[in-house]
Symmetry: C2
Subunit: 203 residues, 2 copies
DNA sequence: ACGCCTAAACTGACCGGTCGGTCGATCCCG
DNA sequence: CGGGATCGACCGACCGGTCAGTTTAGGCGT
């Protein structure tokens, strides 16, 4: 029955991360109990502390893992496009798509990781900076290439991220509006905000 | 010497709220110790529990107080304007202005109130809804009046709030960019995002 | 004017449950 | 049989909340 034998350390680590994701996303960092993660992962306190130095790091591992995933998706999407503004558009879509596909990790990264101590806040700022830079680079290129007018691309990039985050958070909690609807309205709106109307103008 | 006598209950309550704002904004909800609020307010544990039923409610009192303040400012700004889009613009400016003026309350409301339990999350959703509705109403009127094209005003309103929140949060932590710079770039950008260019077009 | 009484306001020592983290025992693969 | 991996009973610091008691303000009868 209990097929507990023969479990690689790798799989144990994964099971812990899975359970942690589940518990953290439901309860939030502080209300998440290690004992609950133990139960859900079918491991033990000791095992968790063998693989992670403490609760904080376990949590950060989750955040980092998801941030890396999203960044990878975005970079791939960008690489596929030829022009700066096409890259920007693809980046926005990829980002929203990733958040939409993974509700729980999104919740952990965007919500649960907020309002905890200094350590967490620094990680958040770092991740935001990573994504913002990703967008800003091509926004700047688009300006240089004359695809859009000159603007404060630093502010724009953060504003865009804020829109994406906020709508995603709302969707995570209320289930509304659906990701597809968000993309449909938000992406054109953001492009419009820098006065960019690709090829065909809106109907 | 110690002019501790003659303190109205009102002033005590205020002192507790002041101290709580200071401690919560620096430490976040969970790392904030009641004992620290006691020390900073020069009162006592019992006094806090005389004025507030528990830590949670004390915190929520702060959040509500600030949300009410911002809402009041926004409503006043709106009342001063004649046309729908002028109201929308004024609302955005008033909102940013209020956040910019009160750094600590902004931090508490936008950051520290996040990722706590269900109770807090509901309060957040409620406040967001209040602000979003405030904007959406006049956005809808603007559409009806033909000032802007038809759009998904629900998504737009939340996206705008997200931009404002996110830039404010960043400013709260890094001191950059300055509120004035945010307003200067963000407001025109948001108006542009619904293809609205008031009277004079940008240079 | 004066002491008496009550209630509101306030104090701070103390309690007790909670939960992240520890550690010695145990398992089992190579 | 060595040591990486796992287990889970146990520890004890920590902190929100309690409560018995003290102080203050003012109403009231005489």
């Amino acid at each position: 029955m209990t097929e507990k034998s023969v479990r690689s350390p790798e799989s144990t680590r994964e099971r812990i991360l899975d359970a942690a994701l589940s518990v953290f996303s439901n309860k939030g960092y502080h209300d998440a109990r290690l004992d609950e993660i133990v139960a859900e992962s079918d491991t033990s306190k000791g095992s968790i502390y063998f693989h992670f130095p403490n609760k904080e790091r376990l949590f950060l591992a989750l955040v980092e893992k998801f941030a890396d995933l999203v960044e990878r998706r975005v970079r791939e999407a960008i690489a596929r496009q030829p022009s700066p503004m096409a890259k920007v558009e693809a980046a926005l879509e990829a980002c929203l798509e990733a958040f939409g596909r993974y509700r729980r990790p999104a919740k952990v990264m965007l919500v649960q990781a907020t309002g905890l101590g200094t350590v967490f806040e620094e990680k958040r700022l770092e991740i935001n900076e990573r994504f913002a830079r990703l967008i800003r680079i091509y926004l700047d290129e688009a300006v240089a290439a004359g695809e859009i007018e000159a603007v404060d691309t630093d502010v724009i990039a953060y504003a865009w991220l804020g829109s994406i985050y906020h709508l995603t958070i709302r969707w995570v909690y209320t289930g509304e509006p659906e990701p597809s609807r968000i993309v449909k309205t938000l992406v054109p709106m953001l492009l419009q905000s820098v006065n960019y109307t690709k090829g065909q103008k809106g109907r």
